[in-house]
Symmetry: C2
Subunit: 230 residues, 2 copies
């Protein structure tokens, strides 16, 4: 009944990519890429899960298990070829592509994002800016002319924009996210202090420093470092 190639066929790398990989695992891959690039810069061509784990404060087992979702990149007894592993992970994450980004909202925060020099070396290009405030429209920010919101859909299509960054006040955020997703954009980096509702095919990452601070203050109880005196 079972055909000769079925086992290998079902387990090749293409199929692995289509398998359900836990999202926590995917979220760690960029950290691996960053650490591996650093290790390469420091002159090592080979790395063990042990050593990589020390660098990233993770257990070697977790790293091996994570990588095993995508293929068999190591050599038993030796470790991983750093150069090879980096390129594989970059492929998996599609970091070889260039990604075009539109920023919506050009207030203080939006301007800082547009001028942030850390995106473009990683292949993330902010190539359009939008604002609903007509006084902002037409202004030049970091080489971009601010466009009105009703040009969003056309520009996304014409310029091949795949990622949206939301930098508008909380009150407008849900509407803006709705407009962005209805243009077919499936990845949103959201700086507004709301957790927008999106269709299941859309990924959102929220960046919210106030929430981060508010969860840390829980642990800032006076002299206590975790031990109790019974």
């Amino acid at each position: 009944m079972r055909r000769v190639y079925s086992s290998d066929f079902l387990c090749n790398e293409v199929t692995k990519l289509l398998m359900d990989v836990p999202e926590v695992v995917v979220n760690r891959l960029p950290q691996y890429v960053r650490a591996l690039r650093q290790i390469l810069e420091d002159g090592s061509e080979i790395v063990s899960s042990q050593l990589l784990g020390q660098t990233l404060q993770m257990t070697p087992a977790q790293i091996r298990k994570d990588l095993s979702y995508f293929g068999r990149f190591g050599k038993q007894g030796r470790g991983y070829n750093v150069r090879y592993l980096v390129t594989e992970l970059q492929d998996i994450l599609q970091l070889d592509h260039e990604w075009n980004i539109a920023v919506v909202g050009v207030g203080r925060l939006g301007r800082a994002i547009i001028s942030y020099p850390g995106f473009s070396p990683e292949g993330f290009k902010v190539i359009a800016a939008f604002d609903s405030d007509s006084r902002q429209v037409g202004q030049s920010i970091g080489g971009l002319i601010v466009q009105p919101m009703d040009e969003l859909a056309d520009t996304v299509r014409q310029k091949g924009i795949q990622i949206g960054i939301v930098a508008v006040p909380a009150a407008q955020a849900s509407d803006v996210v709705e407009r962005i997703t209805s243009c077919g954009i499936r990845a949103i980096l959201n700086y507004a202090p709301v957790n927008p509702l999106v269709p299941p095919e859309v990924k959102v990452r929220n960046i919210d420093p106030v929430l981060s601070l508010q969860s840390m203050t829980y642990y800032l109880r006076s002299g206590d470092t975790g031990s109790t005196s019974n």
Copy 2:
């Protein structure tokens, strides 16, 4: 056999606070606070876990379980008194305090953080700024005079600074985190693209938009929305 007060005594709120609450639970509390404040503004005095769950895209069971780590705040058959629940959660998270913050690194990013208007309404006050570059020292940014790094320890002590924000380049981040923690600071918001190693009593929250983008691109595979054609 069972003494009248024993159960209540062992389960009072002080004891609950000392129990080990999962960190994921603590991380959700600020979201509850934000949503509850909004609900209050919208005019509701009572809310059910059902309704709160809809707002936050969480299951009602999760909300009830999370809250149960800290006390019994609801009334069966009625729901939660919003005003009461907000104040309880604010107490738990210590959001009634004012928290003093030092920003280290006054480059583009550090300046944006110092001038960010979203911290202070939430009780987070940036009251000092430091930089290792002597050309920055002495400059005024958002009303703060940039200080040299060797004044860090004294200023932290004198001004009662409890939180540090790191906004320096990756290469300096580990050193800066080390200096900050050695001043006794136990909460760090890190904008540098590294995951610094800290003693167990120190909490770090990393804010790294590039990592967020790099994990989303994994999912941006062409027309596929998750279904396979067999």
